[in-house]
Symmetry: C2
Amino acid sequence: MQTPATPAAVIHLGRMQRNIERMQSRMDALGVKFRPHVKTAKCLPVARAQRAAGAQGITVSTLKEASEFFAAGFDDILYAVGMVAPKLPQALALRRQGCRLQLLVDSADAARAIAAFGREHGERFEVLIEVDTDGHRAGVQPESDTLLEVGRALADGGCALAGVMTHAGASYELDTPEALEAMAEQERAGCVRAAERLRAAGLPCPIVSVGSTPTALSARSLAGVTEVRAGVYVFFDLVMANVGVCTLDDIALGVLTTVIGHQPDKGWAIVDAGWMAMSRDRGTGSQKHDYGYGQVCDADGRVLEGYVLSDANQEHGILSRAGAVDTGIAQKFPVGTQLRILPNHACATGAQFPEYLAVAGDGSVEAWPRFYGW
Amino acid sequence: MQTPATPAAVIHLGRMQRNIERMQSRMDALGVKFRPHVKTAKCLPVARAQRAAGAQGITVSTLKEASEFFAAGFDDILYAVGMVAPKLPQALALRRQGCRLQLLVDSADAARAIAAFGREHGERFEVLIEVDTDGHRAGVQPESDTLLEVGRALADGGCALAGVMTHAGASYELDTPEALEAMAEQERAGCVRAAERLRAAGLPCPIVSVGSTPTALSARSLAGVTEVRAGVYVFFDLVMANVGVCTLDDIALGVLTTVIGHQPDKGWAIVDAGWMAMSRDRGTGSQKHDYGYGQVCDADGRVLEGYVLSDANQEHGILSRAGAVDTGIAQKFPVGTQLRILPNHACATGAQFPEYLAVAGDGSVEAWPRFYGW
């Protein structure tokens, strides 16, 4: 590979493809549709690789993602953040252009707002109800009256009640196979239960959508589930390695950086990947292995055991040996040395870059643009 | 102000202008040039407002910033990150186009690399030596042999040894006027001492450049200093409020967000500003007042005492009353309510947005583009 300007976000294509195939083959074996969350990469070639492997439809976290991916030929899109009135004109415009955009709500107020807007504009919005199966964020309880109230507000208001969805983001806080398996079952059972209650009340519920990278890779059964969503698995990262669903050798995203100086007495090398490149994400700080701002690898991605970015300023990273002062750091990593840093959180690190350098097995490099904003 | 799509980065122009004038008048009173660091906003209209108030030249943290600002008519630019060989062709190109780009080094190796490249291409680079006055990052010690070695490598190698510069970033960790004043004096004295040692060794040192927002606002004397740099003062943020150099009412950058749901039993409102909008910066987490992911204000920027973004996912912020469960949260902040969130760290939050909405005192709004990447 040629030496590009640093810092640069590098994708190891072999690893990415392996991650994509691992997830898809798991979903195929469990007999469910897989709808990847494209918020991690926000990059068309990545989503195309997921689709080529068998993914059906995509999940987005912003209407900007919906617009960008729809313009590139992805027309089956779940917007997996609670919908509110000010965003409805944009959703309507996408549907009028032929995008099968599905919306999400977790309150009767929001459901009624969508229904009213739909009636006003003659649009039958497809809407899922968000279900809370782990207490970490949004969603209605599977056993709640609110679930049925929201369902009726949608169905009676003229929307297509498309189903239920949940995201067990609390799985990110676990780190044993047993706990992950239990969380996957909790996520499945809660979402299926919500679907059953809607159906028992005479309401439609064709879609039962669950997912997070850790639960998708840990579920033993997906009985009653129709589709699974996951995002970060495509790159993986150090948080996921601590959770236990990948190894460091699966991590497909790295930040290429150059050594720009040293403080030998402190055992520091200074590199040009600060937090602007790595992001401020310190997700491994509360996990069993704290990697600082990232795990140091050589320029080709081979892990340099024990070396981490221990601190970061905006455009300066401080590279050191974890728990020790390596006074030979300037000899080990002379000025100009290129290194690759594995990130804590691929979604946050990717977002700092206008493009990825996608590196193939033969060393050839393609620039893949990514977008940002709302 | 009309209701724009959320999340959106909003600049309160009145506060920004007041911040700019406060800093500039201080620098004028202390008799030094002021060279603002444009890495905070990466936005032309912001830098133009700084220049209009009296700033001379700019400081940048990336060569991308240098290129963008030079193309817009800023031709006196200090690149304040240690220079390495792979970036020299880009620096040369800028200088050949007429940009007075100054470079920075803190090792003899890097100095020799610049000198050799300059001789090869017939370019007399202007280079400053980075001095370490607070132990927090890069730079040579004022009393070190290395200082003189680097100076000689530059001067003997054919570079213009332009001076010394330091940045007391450790000032961010302080929070009393006395400690800040002492740090400002430590920064000044160390940098002036380095200049004196170079001059005593027969080397030129016209520029003595110091600065950080806290020290620039705390220095009592800048004797021997020729210019000051600071960046975040233009917007200020919650970290700076904790440091004690601004109040919440000085913070000019906020993230406009919309309430999208609730978990009333937990006292949560869910908003559409998650960490993708706020950034992952948790700088106040280690300060005397922890604001979570940000201080909640009404849509016009009036502080709602006690309400913070207590947690954040990628596109979801969790708004709650600090230290209490407000079970009336859904009534207080109904779905659709717009709020403004003051950020922990303006440099990190601004970087998440392709543009700012600059709001004038009369409520009129202009979209100001900002750039990113390297």
